[in-house]
Amino acid sequence: MTDGRSWLLRRLVVGVAQIAGVVALVFLLTEALPGDAAVALAGDAPDPERVARIREIMRLDEPAAERFADWAAGLLRADLGTSLVSGRPVTGYLADALGPTLLLAGLTLLLLVPVSVGLGVLAARHEGGRTDRLISTVTLGVYAVPEFALGVLLIVVFALRLGWLPPTAVGHGTDLLAEPAVLVLPVLVLLARPVCSISRLVRAGMIEAMASPYAAQARRYGVPGRRVRWAHALPNAVAPAAQQLARTCDWLLSGVIVVEALFVIPGLGTVLIDAVAARDIPVVQGLAVVFGVVTVVLNLGADVVTRRFAPRAGVAA
């Protein structure tokens, strides 16, 4: 499909522009936030003289455009700059935080895809029946419970009452694999929401697909029900779920702040919160680059799935 290749190429080029857009937007946003690193650092002792002094040391008195240009120039040399607050290189921050985040996200995805797709297919298979109602009610119910409440509940039951699992990953730092048990509860909490959203989308698509003439045709020829569901109906139902999955990966990388805080996992979400709070712009920018790349790649992946399973799309008049 040469058609596909040129499409991919164009998307990658646009992707670079998008990353630039993300970085610029994030810079503007953080610049537009009230206060700067100096004010944030001064905290509850905002002695004006001292704030001015810090500002000078951090070179915050220079025009924003100049600082951004400097930073962007560094970016071209693959240098993400240094933290305003600690003076350490930003790459170090990202590298440290990326480990736990990737571990959590990876584990979550590993479970999420089979579980949510499985539940969606199962619910669709019994549409309107007891199984469907049970699956829908439970996943929706869990979805509607905020993460912190679910997290606290799981901790109280499985860690504090039953004592099966450690309540937090405190003290393990970024080396979470040293004690894999600490990952169980966070992954469960992370799973709770996307399982619902993805399984509902899969369910919706599957109901349509299972009622379609092509599924009926497959059944007529005695293709086993499982095969009809997974090989013939599912491909027509995955496109929206793939989009949702891409969003979920995104969220796993950047937005799992509650889970990271609740279980004391120093991942990217925590770094983001700290950096925004400290107005540590180089670190926020570094994160924006990471998020930009991740988003572009994930969206591209989801769009590839969408294209792949709607092959007629590019052709129609």
Binding site: V14, G129, R133, S136, L140, A144, V145, F291, R312, G314
Partner: protein, 279 residues
């Protein structure tokens, strides 16, 4: 295989169980949301925060107010903001996504969807913080912001759900009829993706709720101590172990509301009959 008379198996009952369950779940929260404020009455004196007793049969909340009264007051805004935010999100996302799905100009699609992707890459928390800092939107403004945060996301899902339908011969036939864009996009392509959209919207409804609550805590839109179920859940969390009701009651109401709504959607979309019964 022995012959027997085919039953009139029509499966019209498919969605009934779901409808009943959905109605049962939605009744209480909806009733409380609509009628609650009329029964709330005047605020009584404050108590110590997170305590029970002393006439507060559901205890007190994080600032010592009566939880029951807050529950009575807090439903309307939840229903309103969530519904508005979701509706507005779709109002924007739907045309954009359908336009992208229906166009054959690659550049137009890129123009419509890529900028949204840029917004997607910015953590929503940052967007919220930002708006909190720059504007002081009221509840309506907040609903709009939350809606806008949801637009790129919703647009992508609509786009994916519509991709196949937009390429069907039925759409080509409509073009041959000179059919209006809206009829093609909403009337046919959107209609074809309805089930997926309903599933997404139903779940999104809940997402917007908590985004509003987070925003409230950051000082956007709703007052931080507003009587709002989602805000209650968010703010009373510190007292979860001393005074669970302040979290549990609103959370259960929200759960019932969203689960019920989604089950009703499901029931409404249940296929009237099923094929494939062999007599």
């Amino acid at each position: 295989m022995n012959g027997r008379a085919p039953d009139g198996g029509t499966g019209v009952t498919a969605g009934r169980g779901q409808a009943v369950l959905g109605l049962a779940l939605i009744a209480v929260p909806l009733l409380l949301a609509v009628a609650g404020p009329w029964f709330a009455g005047e605020p009584g004196p404050r108590g110590v925060s997170f305590t029970t007793g002393q006439g507060h049969w559901l205890g007190t909340d994080f600032t010592g107010r009566d939880v029951w009264r807050q529950v009575l007051l807090g439903g309307r805004s939840v229903v309103l903001t969530a519904v508005t935010a979701t509706a507005v999100a779709y109002l924007v996302a739907l045309p954009v996504a359908l336009a992208a799905a229906l166009t054959h100009r690659a550049w137009l699609e890129e123009l419509l969807i890529r900028p949204l992707d840029v917004v997607l890459a910015v953590p929503s928390l940052l967007l919220l913080l930002m708006t909190a800092a720059l504007f002081t939107p009221g509840p309506v403004g907040l609903a709009l912001i939350v809606a806008l945060i949801n637009v790129p996301d919703a647009a992508r899902i609509v786009r994916a759900a519509a991709a196949e339908a937009a390429a069907r011969p039925a759409v080509e036939a409509m073009r041959m009829q000179g059919e209006s864009w809206w009829r093609m996009a909403i009337g046919y392509v959107g209609r074809s993706a309805l089930r997926t959209l309903a599933a997404d919207a139903g779940v999104r409804l809940t997402g917007t709720l908590y985004l509003v609550a987070t925003a409230a805590f950051l000082g956007v839109g709703v007052a931080p101590d507003a009587a709002d179920w989602a805000v209650m859940v968010d703010h009373n969390r510190t007292g979860l172990f001393v005074q669970p009701w302040a979290v549990v009651v609103p959370a259960v109401l929200i759960v019932a509301l969203t689960t019920g709504t989604n089950l009703l959607f499901d029931a409404g979309l249940a296929r009237p009959g099923k094929r494939g019964k062999r007599p």
